[in-house]
Amino acid sequence: MNQALPIEGYLVVGALMFAIGAWGALIRRNAVVVFMCIELMINGVVLTLVAFGDYLPQAGGVGASYAVLVIAIAAAEVAVGLAIVLAVFRSRRTVNVDEANLMKW
């Protein structure tokens, strides 16, 4: 009941989270929801990093430090991305990623 879990459990959860986020980023139309799904993908990767840092002796215990950097950059990405969504909404009155096709050849 209290024995340690194998590392594959955490890695599979991280992989499934990445896949769910990729699915949402591919099929949803709302640009804000696409951002949320990208955040889910980033969280799956961060979970994998922290699991490596805790389980593998070769990792040197720095997985959590990498995770902090990833979280900071993801926060920056959310700020810039939502600013772009706001700018697109202000000029085109939509956040549908299918309709924002001005730069499509």
Binding site: M1, A4, L5, P6, I7, G9, Y10, L11, V12, V13, A15, L16, M17, F18, A19, I20, A22, W23, G24, I27, R28, R29, N30, V32, V33, F35, C37, L40, N43, V46, L47, V50, G53, D54, Y55, L56, P57, Q58, G61, V62, A64, S65, V68, L69, I71, A72, I73, A74, A75, A76, V78, A79, V80, L82, A83, V85, L86, A87, R93, V95
Partner: protein, 172 residues
């Protein structure tokens, strides 16, 4: 341990599915914060409680609030059925995502992780974690990465302000 793992896995993955399949955008944002809370619980199980605190503060607090602001500014009242929220190519998307899930799960399952893979190899104390992050105790590259990420955060916030600023005639 197994009970906590099952609870957190079902919470984070179920809320992630809720983000993708919810027809209301506000519900998607709330499901997203639930999923982040599940990931924070995983961080506690993986001996990184300081990182779990960061996760709760930054993701569950800040990112969710920023995304809710974005939803408030951009949503028009609209009908919400699956026909309107999902792209026409949803079946290829499902195939790609299922293939990605099976592929990644298979790879991480069959890979033989070298050495003895036991939990608790990471830094147990928050002080060690902080020294690693500042490049004092651990690899020194982290000192550079820390400062680069600080500069990147400032530049991106300025960029966000510039992009989303309401343009007036005389650049005010």
């Amino acid at each position: 341990m197994i009970v906590a793992f099952g609870f957190l896995a079902s919470m984070s993955l179920g809320c992630a599915l809720g983000v993708v399949l919810s027809r209301n955008v506000i519900h998607s944002a709330l499901f997203m914060s639930g999923s982040f809370l599940g990931i924070a619980g995983f961080f506690v199980m993986l001996n990184a409680p300081a990182l779990a605190a960061f996760q709760v503060l930054i993701y569950v607090g800040a990112v969710t609030v920023v995304i809710l602001f974005g939803i408030m500014f951009t949503q028009r009242p609209s009908v919400s059925s699956f026909r309107t929220i999902i792209q026409r190519q949803h079946m290829p998307g499902l195939v790609v995502a299922a293939g990605l899930a099976v592929f990644l799960s298979y790879i991480v399952s069959v890979q033989e992780w070298g050495g003895q893979t036991e939990p608790g190899q990471g830094p147990q104390e928050t002080a060690t974690f902080g020294e690693n992050l500042l490049g004092v105790g651990g690899p020194e590259i982290f000192g550079l990465l820390f400062q680069v990420s600080a500069v990147l955060l400032m530049v991106s916030i300025v960029a966000a302000v510039v992009i989303s600023r309401r343009k007036t005639d005389e650049g005010g």
